[in-house]
């Protein structure tokens, strides 16, 4: 399988990366196994997988918090820890473990200091990310007084303090309300730069479908599939669409025997390719059925995810 994103040079490279945890008693658990993938400059890569699939271990390998027990991980040709020590990475961890006694704005100021922002720029930059993430009214609060959602926003804010070349976001919308989940997608869109690589691990396939260029589906620590997102209908191999009918619903089963009524005025139509879907819709319209909407029951990513995870379990 060709794993290099074709548009640009590779920034991150996993080569047969393996991480096995061994206990003192000799028991071992392999969290990541023989994982190979290259991520290109300018790419937004999603990582999806069920709980315990190895996503967080994979990201810890990428940040140099863990070392692979086999294979290698490189960022621009360097060992991750060495790269991070020299350059830093914009990182939103899944677990928002920040010192509870720090005040929100002080936490950003001290992390901006560690991020090596010029001292004169720090106050303005801190104010900017506070405003961007909408936590202005909580800036004087201690971390322990923040709600889960605000703490998550603080975690995202600290990752945006500096223009990083590599950004790693582990479940970044975890705990965010729907409004901020939507805003976060805009923030990620705003993170796109020709020279920046963004990696997002998430359970939320809809989110990955919207923000990522490709999604690596992992399970049991292995790369199961690499899916290019977006609705490329020419490449679509089929699925199920849900149609909502405004009038003439009684004629749908007659005109289209494969249609299955899912609820009042709604039908699910399985199809094998796009032309078949269009023929089916055409026959309904010609037959006097007034169609209100047509939506895929599952996205391409969701379908691939179910197939990949189902196959590996």
């Amino acid at each position: 399988m060709e794993l290099v994103y074709p548009a640009a040079a590779s920034v991150i490279e996993f080569s047969n990366a393996t991480k096995t945890y061994r206990s003192i008693l000799g028991r071992s658990v392999t969290a990541v196994e023989d994982f190979s993938l290259q991520v290109a400059e300018g790419e937004v890569l999603g990582i999806a997988g069920p709980n315990g699939a190895g996503k967080s271990t994979l990201l810890s390998l990428l940040l140099g918090f863990l070392r692979p027990t086999g294979g290698s991980v490189r960022i621009l040709g360097e060992e991750p820890r060495e790269y991070v020590r020299k350059n830093g990475i914009g990182y939103v961890p899944e677990l928002m473990t920040m010192n509870p006694t720090w005040r929100a704005d002080n936490a950003l100021t001290r992390l901006a200091t560690l991020a090596d922002l010029p001292p004169a720029e720090i106050p303005a930059r801190v104010n900017a990310v506070i405003e961007q993430l909408g936590i202005g009214e909580h800036r004087d609060k201690k971390v322990k007084a923040l709600s889960k959602g605000n703490l998550q926003r603080l975690g995202v804010a600290q990752a945006l303090l500096r223009e990083e070349r590599v950004m790693v976001l582990d479940e970044p919308t975890h705990g965010l309300d729907p409004v901020w989940t939507q805003r976060f997608r805009d923030i990620v869109e705003g993170l796109r730069r020709p020279g920046r690589t963004v990696i997002i691990a998430s359970h939320n396939l809809d989110e990955l479908q919207r923000v990522a260029d490709r999604v690596a589906i992992i399970d049991h620590g292995r790369l199961q599939r690499l899916v290019t997102t977006g609705y490329d209908l020419s490449a679509d191999t089929g699925g199920t669409y849900r149609i909502a009918v405004a009038s003439g619903a009684e004629r749908v089963p007659v005109l289209l025997p494969s249609a299955r009524a899912s609820s009042d005025g709604e039908f699910e139509i399985p199809f094998t390719d796009v032309s078949e879907l269009n023929r089916a819709l055409g026959s309904l319209i010609v037959g006097g059925v007034l169609i209100a909407s047509v939506v895929p029951v599952r996205s391409v990513l969701e379908q691939q995810f179910r197939e990949a995870v189902g196959e590996s379990r």
């Binding site: 940040l63 006694t101 200091t113």
Partner: protein
Amino acid sequence: MSGNLGRYLIWQCRDFVRERGIAVLLIGVVFGMTVIAPMKMAAAASATPMSDRMARQLLMIVLMQLSFIASFIVLNGLVSNDRKTGYYRFLFSKPVSLPAYYTQAFGVYFLGYLVVFALLLALFVVFVSPVQPFGPLAFAAIVFLSLGGIAFFISSLFRRDWVVLGGVLAGSQIISSVWGEAPGIRGVIARLFPPFGRLGDVMEGLVNRGTVEPQSLVWLLGYSAVFFVGGLIVLRRRPIG
């Protein structure tokens, strides 16, 4: 020291004051009062002022115990706290070297500890008896540095470092008292443990004569320094996650 880490010093100082410094100061005051107050009351009851010799002996009693307790509190969790709590995720996604970060933290904690002891000594001078501050302060520094390297190494290796450090301290005291003077293999084993037994001589020399026997000092600090370097190697080679 890189620029960003140098500028982060102020935040480490702040952390020390809030998380350790005030606690050690309060413990020092309470501990000092429980030992010194009865002696002062006895001296007052007998209408005889406390002699310089008695004041020095009192100081030695307090200093020996308090410097160990304070060092233990200050050094506890130096590295392991960030690992246990997961704070490392935010700190070390920034362009920071782990060994440099914790070496700086060690330095800040050492200076903070000395400031706390200077304050405690000032209280002793004001409320008990005037003493030369150099000897007691130097002894407190030696205790911290003797324990520091070992604590640093243990903290870089173990999440529950205080348990291990407590075990090492207790073990070295027991082995030293049982096999300290023993010939052969037992004596060799006793000498492999931290040489805290030499601190008694060091304190006696510093507080009473203002001098210290170089061999004991070299042995104490050298032993600790070897472990400190070991801790730096662990931080460099072992992943923190």
